[in-house]
């Protein structure tokens, strides 16, 4: 019993962080129709910002989170203006952006590589390797804090999108750019804003990731497929779906990893993806496609 509980806790703890990593991806897709393959690379960017502050001034990674988020959001503004603005009206937008972001991922990796070399880094605040022990069961502090912070950010973001006027404008712009424009929405501003929020989330995730995983510029390739699986399982563009997907998959992966073998725990993510495509192609919380 204690063993099951323990595995469950570990799965959930990891799931919380993965949820935040995935939610930025999901948001950017949901509101911008951009499949941002560079998202993990930008997360690593955020992690480096946090790492530098930790190394130089001993600033706590969680305290660095707002700074990383804002910095990366600013980067997002620049990236949007440079790369995506001119594509926004094209019919093949969504598909084009997959490739553009692939290119972006390479650029980010190359840039980070030249700045920070390819040595692996990790921040180590005290809580990163500590745990609460409750009898036989322990809860890793680092993961716990990261998970809680993640969920708080995601909740705030969801409320913003659902109820604020800007949130409305963001959703409307996604669905029909021209219509939104005709109703008085400054779609360019809204697009930049949404993209910046998405990349800001990458920055925030980076801060948390910096003490949960170790990282180096080329690491992002390992995360992409995993995060994508989570997003598809939850339903492309649904943030709630991403959170649920991340938690479910992480828990299942934890059980598979413990009982069947660590090699197979990553397989869980991809297998789940295939199963969901078979039985419910739109994902857990996605919208139904047109033809039955």
């Amino acid at each position: 019993m204690a063993e099951i509980l323990q595995i469950l806790i570990l799965g959930l703890a990891l799931g919380g962080v993965i949820a935040l990593m995935g939610s930025g991806l999901s948001l950017v897709f949901g509101v911008m129709r951009i499949v941002n393959l560079a998202h993990p690379a930008l997360i690593i960017g955020g992690a480096y910002i946090t790492y530098l502050a930790f190394k130089a001034f001993d600033i706590d990674p969680i305290a660095m989170l707002p700074v990383a988020a804002v910095t990366m959001a600013a980067v997002g503004v620049v990236l949007y203006r440079l790369l995506f603005q001119r594509e926004a009206r094209s019919a093949k937008y969504s598909e084009m952006t997959v490739l553009l972001t692939f290119a972006l991922a390479m650029m980010v990796e190359g840039l980070l590589g030249s700045l920070f070399t390819n040595t692996q880094r990790v921040t180590s605040p005290d809580y990163a390797t500590a745990a609460f022990f409750i009898g036989d069961v322990f809860i890793p502090k680092g993961q716990l804090y990261a998970g809680l912070v993640s969920l708080a950010i995601i909740a705030a973001l969801s409320l913003f999108l659902k109820y604020s006027r800007l949130g409305y404008a963001i959703r409307a712009t996604t669905q029909n750019r021209e219509a939104a424009e005709l109703l008085g929405v400054n779609v360019q501003f809204i697009s930049v804003l949404a993209f910046a929020i998405g990349i800001g989330l990458a920055g925030a995730a980076g801060s948390l990731v910096s003490f949960v995983f170790s990282f180096f510029p080329a690491k992002h390739w390992e995360w992409i497929a995993m995060l994508m699986s989570v997003v598809v399982l939850g339903g492309m563009g649904s943030i709630l779906g991403t959170v649920v997907g991340a938690l479910i998959l992480s828990v299942v992966a934890a059980f598979v990893g413990t009982w069947i073998g660590a090699t197979w725990s990553t397989l869980t993510f991809f297998l789940a993806l295939f199963i969901i495509l078979l039985v419910r192609p739109q994902g857990l919380f996605g919208e139904k496609p047109e033809m039955a």
């Binding site: 404008a169 029909n176 219509a179 005709l182 109703l183 400054n186």
Partner: protein
């Protein structure tokens, strides 16, 4: 005679393609209903898109209340007082009817006032109230058209430009639609519409414009347009009208 909107000799096209309209002109007088007719592909929709800023104008001027509109974005032009409902309806398919109406009043800052006006719209169009929580994309063609039209009533613009408002509407509703338009113009909202249902359109309009070959071929009081035998033959399905 005061002019609210004046379009002089404009040229416009898509991207870097050929000029679709070349030498179109148009005069809009306050408080009247104007109807543009013309064959398919003549450039009617293109003209409206150019006026509202969705296409860039290559030559010529659009002057509204003495101010040049060339080069402004659609959202800026809307705030100046020109509202446009395109032929493709421009609804938010995955938002509910109510949310669509709310977006219609996006430029209103007063939330309470907005809700009140939405209530008024729902009052006037029972079908919309019935479907208030249905996604707009799943409504029937005519229902969508009704919604698109109703949405313009939320903000009270100086000019509404409607691209084929009667498209897909049942005869009974078409009549209602034109009644609403008349009422709007009575309230001081100027109406500029494009119609393929040309007879109906001209009958309910004050002023008629024939657009063909990317140019304005004729402009005059609606009754004159209706009576012209050449126009009847070319654009109104001749034989029957004669």
């Amino acid at each position: 005679m005061t002019k609210l909107l004046e379009v002089t000799n404009i040229t416009a096209g898509y991207g870097d393609g050929p000029a679709i309209i070349d030498g179109a002109h148009l005069t809009v007088e306050p408080g009247k209903v104007h109807c543009i007719i013309g064959p398919n592909g003549a450039g009617k929709s293109t003209l409206l898109k150019a006026i509202c800023g969705m296409l860039s104008i290559r030559k010529g001027d659009v002057v509204f209340k003495g101010e040049r509109l060339n080069g402004l974005r659609p959202d800026q032009i809307l705030r100046k007082g020109i509202c446009f409902v395109p032929q493709e309806r421009a609804l938010f398919a995955k938002m509910t009817v109510r949310e669509n109406l709310r977006m219609g009043g996006f430029i209103l800052d007063d939330k309470k006032e907005l809700e009140r006006r939405i209530e008024g719209i729902l009052e006037r169009f029972p079908i919309l109230r019935e479907r208030a929580d249905q996604h707009a994309g799943t409504m029937s063609g005519g229902q969508q058209q009704t919604l698109a039209m109703a949405r313009t009533l939320i903000i009270k613009p100086d000019i509404v430009m409607l691209d084929e408002p009667s498209l897909g509407l049942a005869p009974k509703v078409v009549q209602e639609m034109f009644d609403i338009m008349k009422m709007m113009s009575a309230e001081g909202v100027t109406v500029l519409l494009v119609e393929q249902n040309a007879l109906m359109g001209l009958k309910n309009a004050d002023w008629g414009v024939v657009l063909d070959l990317g140019r304005t071929l004729f402009e005059g009081p609606a009754a004159t347009v209706l009576a012209d035998p050449r126009i009847q033959e070319l654009y109104l399905g001749g034989k029957k009208a004669a």
